[in-house]
């Protein structure tokens, strides 16, 4: 059952952090003197998508810090994008917060990203919270070799065609309602009113309408050797307390990961909460429930 958003609050502060020449927009909810927790959003989202969830954590006495990933929201459109670069940006924001270990929370791709950062720099992460960000290899297990070759041929050629076309690419304009409805194709379980709320935050207005701010050179999918289990293999070795929350309702932006994919990989003492009837955007569908779990988990 989709409970939906009850609270919406823009961040209390915004600053810019330089990550090796890329300027990142860093947003904060809550008392600047409160203990910090770092949030990372998912791919094609932006910090403002935490407007319904972050205030619940901030109001419980935390300084919630979340950056717009490079190319997303109000951060610079970068020249290149990669998993390595996103990790580096995460560490630049951590350096901005301070040298002490802090709790981190990531959704979707942001969850996978902070999982890697926690594995690489365990001295910087005191607690790890992962919200539907544990990829697994679900999908076409019985596809033949020949079909896989065909699929890759199309995927690679389309990706290269896209790279050729990005030089002067610009996103399609529309009204607030049109952008919200377009986004709903990727967020089918989310309330249209919430998606309309996000448009003036994640989009900019020109004479001919609104456009999402995200870099037009970015697209869903890509080519490369990365395999989802490469993220999952970072999980068992983590030494800090871990809370994993999984939405079990399968939808377009999710991984379709099952509890049986995760449980064998949980480090000792980890908490793991699979939620029936909840989709990929767990914290937007169930902000109070997730906030309660997170606050109970945090020191």
């Amino acid at each position: 059952m989709v409970q939906g958003v009850t609270v919406r609050r823009r961040p209390d502060r915004c600053t810019r952090v330089d990550s090796h020449g890329v300027s990142l927009a860093v947003w904060e909810w809550g008392d600047a003197a409160a203990p910090p927790i770092l949030f990372a959003h998912g791919g094609f989202d932006f910090a403002g998508t935490y407007d319904s969830f972050a205030p619940l954590i901030a109001d419980a006495g935390w300084r919630v810090v979340c950056w717009d990933a490079r190319g997303h929201g109000d951060s610079d459109h970068a020249d290149l994008y990669s998993w390595e670069a996103d990790q580096r940006d995460a560490v630049a924001v951590m350096d901005h917060i301070g040298p002490d270990p802090i709790p981190v929370l990531g959704h979707s791709k942001g969850g996978g990203l902070l999982l890697n950062v926690a594995d690489a720099l365990p001295h910087r992460v005191s607690h790890l919270i992962n919200i539907d960000g544990l990829p697994s290899r679900r999908g076409w297990p019985d596809m033949s070799d020949r079909d896989r070759t065909s699929l890759r041929a199309d995927a690679v050629a389309e990706w290269l065609d896209h790279r050729r076309a990005t030089v002067d690419a610009i996103r399609k304009p529309g009204t607030i309602d049109e952008l919200a409805r377009r986004r709903r194709r990727m967020n089918p379980r989310l309330d249209l009113d919430w998606l309309r709320y996000l448009v003036p935050i994640g989009a900019y207005e020109s004479d001919d309408g609104w456009r999402w701010k995200i870099d037009p050179s970015m697209r869903m999918g890509g080519v490369g050797p990365w395999q989802p289990e490469w993220s999952m293999m970072r999980l068992p070795g983590l030494g800090m307390p871990v809370l994993g929350i999984l939405g079990l309702a399968v939808e377009v932006m999710g991984w379709g990961t099952l509890p049986s994919d995760v449980v064998p990989n949980l480090p000792e003492g980890a908490r793991f909460v699979p939620l029936e009837g909840v989709g990929h955007f767990v914290h937007i569908e169930q902000p109070e429930l997730v906030a309660e779990m997170v606050l109970d988990f945090l020191p």
Partner: protein, 287 residues
Amino acid sequence: MSNDPHTADDATDPNDSIEKRRRKAGPFVLDIEVDPVDPSLVRIGTQVTGPTGHRAPIGPAGEPEVWLRHNRIRLALHRLREARDDATRPLLLLHGLGEHTSQRPPEATDAWLGAVWGLDFTGHGRSSSPRGGGYTAEILMADVDAALAHLGTATVLGRGLGAYVALLIQGARPALVRGAVLVDGPGIVGGGIGPSAPRVTVAPSSPVTPDPFALAELTVDVRPPDYAVDYLRLAVRYSGLGEPVTLAGNVRPPWMAALQGLPGVRELPVAAALEDYAAAPGVALRR
């Protein structure tokens, strides 16, 4: 025979006349003279060739013939040699990690009658560098695709990292790339076959190329053998070439060893491989 343009034997034999050396070297050498102080030295442009015929390192190619755009990056595409036969497709040279297009193509390409071009990858040579890194081998593959958009079809000769990229683009653009020749060079190994120890890579900023981020990130890019084989299969299936990939170097990192012996792959010296690729319909080769 060496495949390294920095060390390859020169076309010049000190016993040859200057005119003969000029003919051997081809029409692309603009300036050749015997050093007036040390007659054992022969100058070819900025190169110095000693009595052994061993070339000293030569400098980077100058102002490129063509500037390409790959998204926000400006890529330098150098024409190193004019076509001696307009019917012959171009040969595109891809340098190794941390290198740049050299002024002069390696000797093994001398018989190629089409134009010879060299591409400076993102963050290398005269091409621009991104802010804050983000390099992948696939981005460099798209660099090559930008060059193919300008050149049309081409045969590709890649060194080191450029050899890996040559394999990728041969599979990804099987109709445009007419044979990929892979030779030794910097960056040929990559970052292993699977995820390595966790790390967050940082590098200092630099106003000049090579971009330190390119060196840092492209030495650890993961190259699973099955991923390399996927590109070979695409090349075999869609290029129409019997053996679209030639291994012409000595080193066999795991991604390349996985190709060895598979259909579509052969091992030949560079010159022989180019002769074969050039012999495809519509291509002439100097005998």
